[in-house]
């Protein structure tokens, strides 16, 4: 496997990390674009999802949105934003990624808030809490695990997808893959692939820990939850909404 050993040699060369536009720069660019996209998506999806979820309305809209987003190729959206008046570059990439990050966050927030037992709400109202207090102190903690799952799904998806931006002239770690491909140097290409995949896995791990720490009540380790997450056919499956990559 000379290609793989070449990839390892590329990754072991300190110059490849430290030079301008090296791995460090591209990783920071990658993370910057991803963070901007996820934050923008959260600003849109969290309030809308909370409003729809507490009102228990708009299930059809949420399902349609999450289904349609699965059918639209990410590459197409990245390209379309690049050739629109926004122009290509990191801003267009971040906007395109944010569009893809909205459905998972929205779906999970909606399902989370809708799942709060109405009797619990009534009881807290009866105890004299205001609407805001019920939302912040009762509904939010109960919905939080699903909301965090949505943010995690969206964030991992965004980090993974940001690599595609390089195919249409954007920045980020995908450029290493693209560079290796352009030079027919599979070693560099594999090195880039390892970096992109590693960053996505790392994001998954970090966010799993964050959502575990943020979840109130009895804490279960995040990877143990997968076993109970099965079931539930017919309702939109929160964790799988949106396109991979």
């Amino acid at each position: 496997m000379s290609d793989f050993s070449r990839a390892l040699r590329y990754l072991n060369d300190p110059l490849n990390w430290s030079r301008p536009n090296g791995i460090t720069d591209l990783t920071l660019e990658h993370l910057g674009i991803s963070a901007a996209a996820v934050l923008a998506a959260m600003l849109v999806a969290l309030p809308v999802g909370t409003a729809l979820g507490t009102a228990r309305r708009g299930a059809g809209l949420v399902v349609v949105l999450s289904n349609v987003s699965r059918a639209v190729p990410t590459l197409a959206l990245l390209t379309l934003f690049a050739v629109s008046p926004i122009g290509f570059g990191n801003r267009a990439t971040a906007i395109a990624l944010a569009v893809f990050a909205v459905p998972p966050i929205l779906t999970n927030t909606f399902v989370g808030f809708r799942g709060v037992d109405p009797e619990v709400r009534e009881a807290s109202r009866g105890m004299g809490m205001s609407r805001g207090q019920v939302l912040a102190r009762v509904e939010l903690p109960l919905a939080l695990p699903l909301v965090m799952t949505g943010i995690r799904t969206a964030a991992v998806q965004v980090v993974a997808t940001a690599g595609l931006a390089a195919l249409v002239g954007g920045g980020g770690l995908g450029r290493i893959v693209n560079l290796g491909f352009g030079q027919q140097d599979y070693g560099v290409m594999i090195a880039g692939a390892i970096l992109v995949a590693g960053l996505a896995l790392l994001a998954e791990l970090v966010l799993a820990l964050v959502s575990w720490a943020a979840t109130p009540g009895p804490r279960r380790l995040p990877f143990l939850r997968a076993r109970t997450a099965g079931g539930g056919v017919g309702v939109p499956e929160p964790t799988a909404s949106g396109v991979p990559l």
Partner: protein
Amino acid sequence: MTSLGARPLQDAVSDPAVGVLAVDEAPNPWFRPSYVRDNWDTILAYAGEHVRLTVAAVVIGAALALPLALAARRSRLLSAPVLGLSTVVYTIPSLAMFALLVPFTGLSSTTVLVGLVAYSLVILVRNFLAGLQGVPDDVREAARGMGLSGAQTFWRVDLPLALPAFMAGLRIATVSTVALTTVGVLVGHGGLGQLITGGFAANFYRAEIVTGAVGCVLLALAADLLLAGVERLLTPWARAARA
């Protein structure tokens, strides 16, 4: 393919009037029927490749997912690693997946197919397992009590009861595979994705990009409707219950 690595000029897009090439001065509409008419054969060829890759990936994925799901239902020891591994596979970006496969399978459609099978497998195993676990234990025990063998139980009890979940998994897998296939442009076999990057490389020709994108969405919608129809045909009892 070499154009993919090139970084296009910044100002060519930000201001269409200040073009570098003469093409820029021509109007660049989002959609143009004449483009679709003139290039119908090319579009059809790419769409054909897209459909072939999607169908092959979902069929192979389903053929592999069913035994895996059956095995995972039988033993708890196996179900945790199957689900855990599928989460990891789902996290790997498609660009990285295809790039890692290139040294083994080269610039062929096999590269794209292997990657797509991996992703569809992940979705299908989860849904198949959920469907099988949804079959009540009492019902299976009753079937055993009636003297049905293992295979008979599967065909006559498990399969009909888990069919809605199976079909839901197939629909999700098909639709996302249609979208994922476009990334195959990395190795030159992206079906309609070729139009998307092709238009980008051809001095940001929007009509070509939009045609590719809209084609993908239409393809996904058609596949979803088709599978929904199949599901309706296969589960006549569901219709009877609703009526």
